[in-house]
């Protein structure tokens, strides 16, 4: 594997933020909770903090190693390879789902007569080129596009401010508690807990940079932007429209605008989806390529980027039959995702802690024996 790649914490944080925003920014966060979705988003962010701390702890216990190496160090070749295969399959599934979201959005809202596979193909060519350029270039792309996304989100808020009706949020939490908890769980698994994929990339994190700070800042800033985007959508659309629209951010920007000065600002939201989607799919593709390279003991993961892109190309049109099924499948997604996002990292973390403490304990007893010998002499 190519080990001379490094990534700084700013680039890494930008990648996590962009990954978190991913397709969630256009899908509007916890829209299925209606006007109380902001509570679901806050709950999801709060629940994701301990989880990302576990991810960061795994990285700090094995600095310089990616998750594929860590699993083999901790569990041996067979069990480690099984875990690696699960992670690769998960990244294939997630990547194809995100590409499908993107291509559905493009073909439903803009290019109705263009075949979906052509949209996917063009998108994947860009992503494959980015992944082939390496994690450092991906980080640079992340930091440049993060500035643009931030500017666009706040510009749309300023432009649509006069259309906002803040009474749309009232009464607060008048729904059954499960209507708030279920979207919170959905939000937790998509996108916050998906940051497990960064365990494949952050072996390249510079030694002086803390994985805790990187993860925490990334998830908090990404979650904050999602929350702001949700509040904008809810204030403009209101409860019924929010519940019935598949792409609330697109809908919001479509109906808002300052008369005669700025119309048709929905193209800005499309730019958001392009930029954040590219980062998310590139991380999935990177994880796939790196995982496969590790499983098959191939030195350079970059040689597997193109076949991984082609696998994503093959999987994304069949990942769900229709665009509507993509949204309904999101409710089932958590059952597939939770074992990968929570169970496997927990296993890795607990085993890593036990092994590290044993090693430290072993070192300590050796030191004691040496001291006793010195004293005896």
């Amino acid at each position: 594997m190519v080990q001379n790649e490094t990534i700084g914490h700013k680039h890494a944080t930008a990648l996590i933020i962009m990954f978190t925003l991913g397709s969630s920014l256009i899908m509007g966060g916890a829209s299925i909770a209606g006007k109380d979705g902001w509570i679901s988003i806050l709950l999801a962010i709060a629940a994701s903090i301990p989880l990302v701390m576990i991810y960061a702890r795994i990285l700090s216990l094995h600095r310089g190693n990616c998750i594929f190496e860590i699993t083999e160090i901790l569990f041996g070749t067979v069990a480690g390879t099984v875990m690696n295969v699960i992670l690769v399959v998960y990244s294939l599934f997630l990547g194809s789902l995100v590409i499908r979201n993107f291509s559905d959005f493009v073909t439903v809202s803009m290019l109705q007569r263009t075949p979906q596979v052509i949209v996917i193909l063009l998108y994947l060519i860009v992503v494959a080129y980015l992944v082939k350029s390496g994690i450092k270039t991906m980080g640079k792309w992340g930091i440049i596009t993060f500035g643009i996304i931030l500017f666009i989100v706040f510009l749309t808020i300023i432009i649509s401010f006069h259309d906002m009706v803040f009474s749309h949020f009232l009464p607060v939490a008048d729904k059954p508690i499960m209507d708030i908890i279920t979207p919170a769980v959905d939000q937790f698994t998509y996108p916050y807990a998906e940051t497990i994929l960064f365990l494949s990339a952050f072996g390249a994190l510079k030694k002086e940079d803390s994985p805790y700070k990187t993860y925490l800042r990334g998830v908090l800033i990404g979650g904050g932007i999602l929350l702001v985007a949700f509040l904008r959508n809810a204030a403009i659309l209101g409860d019924p429209t929010l519940l019935n629209s598949y792409y609330p951010s697109f809908m919001t920007t479509r109906i808002s605008g300052v008369q005669d000065i700025s119309e048709r600002i929905e193209s800005l939201v499309i730019i958001n989806l392009f930029f954040t989607g590219i980062v998310k799919v590139s991380i999935c593709m990177f994880t796939m390529a790196k995982g496969l390279a590790h499983i098959f003991r191939i030195y350079d993961y970059k040689k597997l980027v193109m076949p991984c892109a082609m696998m994503l190309f093959g999987m994304s049109p069949i990942v769900s039959p229709t665009p509507m099924d993509v949204f309904s499948s999101m409710t089932k997604y958590k059952y597939y995702a939770i074992p990968v996002q929570i169970v496997i990292p927990l296993l890795i973390w607990i085993t890593a802690e036990i092994k590290t403490r044993k090693q430290k304990g072993g070192d300590g007893s050796e030191k004691k024996e040496r001291r006793q010998k010195v004293v005896a002499n």
Partner: protein, 61 residues
């Protein structure tokens, strides 16, 4: 979408000549087999979709 199939086959041919052929010449057996299998699987899946075959999703359905 059979028209799209023509473009897709051309793109796959391009990938074959630009990316796969140099690998084939380098005689790295593992890479060649893995690359070849993945390329073939994805091409079959995409062509099935292009010609309207209802391929069931391996993940959710």
């Amino acid at each position: 979408m059979p028209e799209a199939a023509i473009i897709i086959v051309m793109v796959y041919a391009l990938v074959f000549f630009i990316d796969y052929l140099p690998l084939l010449r380098s005689q790295k057996t593992k890479e060649v087999w893995l690359y070849g299998c993945m390329m073939l699987i994805s091409l079959i899946l995409v062509l099935l979709v292009c010609f309207g075959v209802d391929v069931p999703s391996p993940f959710l359905y």
